[in-house]
Point group: none
Chain length 216, copies 2
DNA sequence: TCGCCCTGTGAAGAAAACTTCACAAGAGAT
DNA sequence: ATCTCTTGTGAAGTTTTCTTCACAGGGCGA
């Protein structure tokens, strides 16, 4: 069951959000400011946080790194008012995962929430993979790009991959694809298209997580 | 300089969008349908595409995978006239990066555009520089153990470290400590004790996060 | 059929990473 | 002063990883 924490100083919006989320079958809890939220994070782990940027006391922007430290795996969605490009950009740099512009429609909110929960899900599905394999897979820039491309595209044929990576010598790509296949990160379909395996998806997610944490 | 491609069958909106984007200091080019867009993608690489979902001829939804194939790194923002979740979800699944609901305000558009350009830029930078360092630091088992030890202990002297790692040859440890220091992960105090730097702490956090997600 | 692109293999060489060894300056104890 | 432990350096050698090259079968359009 997905636990969601709503952080907003507006009593009415807070209540509405919790109701809406619960109607959608999600468990939601509210906090009225950042400090309360941090307190609640100590008691309970959440899958996702809806965080207002503008609040009295500790504001959302300041809270992001603190939340990240306390709950590195929780996805943070920033709720920001129109017309503040800087704020939104900055909040993502601070470690936010996504944003939604206020005022928003329920549909738009749920879309964002569901997408982010989906992205977070990888944390739970697991089977032991040894670290050497993971890091060997991720140690090389070309392999990282490959994982990201495949993660994004779903599947790609060999030559498309070569061109996307902008590598002149296709055998070089072949070498790394072999390495990735041996690491169990990628596989081929009947028509020879490459795609990520479950472990590959996991590695790709690790990668994007690390990217994000460097952003902070 | 950021290159943007606007794809919309509405002549007026197309022109307006290009003007607005150029006023904001971005380079924008327009295409009046998906096939033209694909043609232009062959000539030039774009950082971002604003794509209308409903168009005569090849529609936006169909175009997404084709664009992705041609320009895998370009960010695709869907403009959808129907605020329907289905369309948006489906377009994201097809490989879109973000969406915006028509009619939209200039502010909202620019927010979305800027955020997506930011994300794209960030991906490139990180891929180029930081990640090689990070993974070089984490690629080796001895170095990982060192990071974990220092993370737990705060600081340790050289020989204590050697013994904790159960390595016979102290120069071997020395080699890896040097690598970690060059990666900017560790540093020494005046009394020669080793400790993590900020980046080192970050790397250690990444590491423990990954471990955790693999165990679960 | 011919030529061309796709997909791939294997070997050889180059580069990077890692280990081992030989040695040494300083600090402290005896 | 001598001994030992700590904390290194640098060179040489080994192993692993990466790149490059030469080649080859299959498919497909002209």
């Amino acid at each position: 069951m997905n636990q969601i924490l709503v952080v907003d100083d507006d009593q009415e919006l807070r209540t509405t959000l919790v109701e809406v989320l619960e109607q959608e079958g999600l468990q939601a809890v509210a906090a009225r400011n950042a400090d309360d939220a941090l307190e609640q994070l100590k008691q309970e782990t959440y899958d996702l946080i809806l965080l207002d940027l503008v609040m009295p006391g500790t504001d959302g922007m300041t809270a992001i790194p603190l939340i990240r430290k306390q709950a590195p795996r929780t996805r943070i969605i920033i709720m920001t008012a129109y017309a503040s490009v800087q704020n939104a950009v900055q909040s993502l740099q601070q470690g936010g995962d996504d944003y939604i512009v206020k005022p928003f429609k329920i549909d738009g909110l749920m879309l964002t929430v569901r997408l982010n929960l989906q992205k977070a899900r990888f944390c739970e599905e697991t089977e032991a993979v040894d670290l050497d394999k993971i890091f060997n897979g991720l140690a090389n820039s070309l392999r990282r790009q490959t994982l990201q491309l495949l993660s994004r595209q779903g599947q790609m044929r060999f030559m498309d991959l070569v061109r996307a990576l902008e590598v002149e010598d296709h055998t070089k790509v072949n070498f790394h694809l072999k390495a990735l296949r041996e690491a169990g990160f990628i596989d081929q379909t009947a028509d020879k298209s490459y795609h990520l395996t479950t472990n590959g998806q996991r590695a790709a997610t690790c990668l994007s997580y690390i990217c994000k944490s460097l952003e902070a």
